[in-house]
Point group: C2
Chain length 225, copies 2
């Protein structure tokens, strides 16, 4: 078994790799809230353990075994998030923080029990895919709500869970995964977006719209006014 710290590094690397492609020392430092120098020495250790490859000044890349462990941690994290939401009614803006602690102490046996209790789910409360036990993960292809044009509609696929305030804000207008949305108008200069969620109309700030991902986008794209 690996230390909690190692698990956190691997997960962070996996997530940065997915979001931005390249994984730099600084990016890790920021994501993990530790000094860059600390990242460098941990990278050295993980590299010795063959969990990642590292080219000096060039960033890191997970090896097969590194990715396998990262995905196990991600699976734990997301299963726990869903379990907490479903079984214990924890609001979706709080599940992430709890899961950050639980993910490191979940045994395989309990993972299986939670998985079964939830009916082998594929998405966590924010819409992120839950990797299967063998490390398969199916990403929906989606675009940020911020990139949609007036007249287009689609379905919420995923919402970033990095900020509880954002989640509460988004939750207030019902933008949960699987919800249908239609873009009514978009203000220019990255202005707010007006949209329809069911019968209700909402105005969403441009920054928040960066963090809501929409799939199944259809409709004639109109002009940004």
């Amino acid at each position: 078994m690996y230390t909690e710290s190692i698990e956190n590094y691997l997960k962070a690397i996996y997530e940065i790799q997915k979001e931005r492609g390249k994984v730099s020392t600084n990016a890790l430092s920021e994501k993990l809230g530790v000094a860059p120098a600390s990242v460098t020495s941990m990278i050295k250790k993980l590299s010795e353990k063959k969990l990642l490859t590292h080219k000096r000044y060039q960033g890191v890349k997970l090896t097969q075994s590194g990715q396998k462990i990262a995905l196990e941690v991600v699976r734990h994290h997301r299963l726990i998030e869903l379990y907490l939401a479903e079984a214990l009614g924890v609001p979706w803006d709080q599940v992430h923080e709890e899961a950050e602690k639980w993910e490191h102490v979940l045994s395989e046996d309990l993972e299986d029990r939670m998985d079964a209790a939830l009916g082998h789910p594929t998405r966590d409360p924010h819409g992120s895919p839950i990797p299967s036990r063998d490390g398969t993960i199916i990403e929906l292809d989606s675009i940020p709500l911020a990139d949609m044009r007036p007249g287009q509609h689609g379905v919420v696929a995923e919402v970033s869970d990095h900020d509880p305030n954002l989640l509460r804000y988004i939750g207030k207008m019902g933008l949960y995964p699987k919800t249908r949305v239609k873009v009514v108008s978009v203000e220019p200069f990255s202005g707010p977006i007006t949209l329809k969620v069911g019968d209700a109309s909402h105005v969403l700030g441009a920054e928040a719209a960066q963090y809501v991902f929409i799939t199944d986008v259809k409709g004639n794209p109109g002009e940004v006014i």
Copy 2:
């Protein structure tokens, strides 16, 4: 918040205090699986934090605040044990090990949610009392099954959870908390005990009988044959 290590020491001290009265360095060393010297230095630290008092070569005693924390950890532990058994169907011989890890990462919020989901329970799966949030704990007074005489009957109050094998053994004859038992005969020289559990008859080894505690003991005590 205190470290996991500190929480473990406080819980161990609490438990030894309850079982044997005096809490020696060696007893702690053995219970925690660390060297006696390590215990000595941790005692020094806990003493500085006013979580316990220590007389050199004489053992330790929890202070009020030390006991409060110990009982919080015990509450976490036992609530989790019960939750795992009830909500996820974890067998009673496995809940202890899982709870050892979970107890340190349970937030107060989740504690409340589990507590509510379980209907504010008072006993864990082994029959041990779950301290209330304010640190009240109600111990049943009970005697070891090993001390019962033929003809006596009573109700299983509690079973020691220190050994999964013991729990499986005891579980096989249905000696769960709240089960009625009647002692049929007792062999001399700490020999096996024959008992009735419901309609079934079982023979229990003397050592195991040390770890099963019976309450509400009644009936004419006969001779040990």
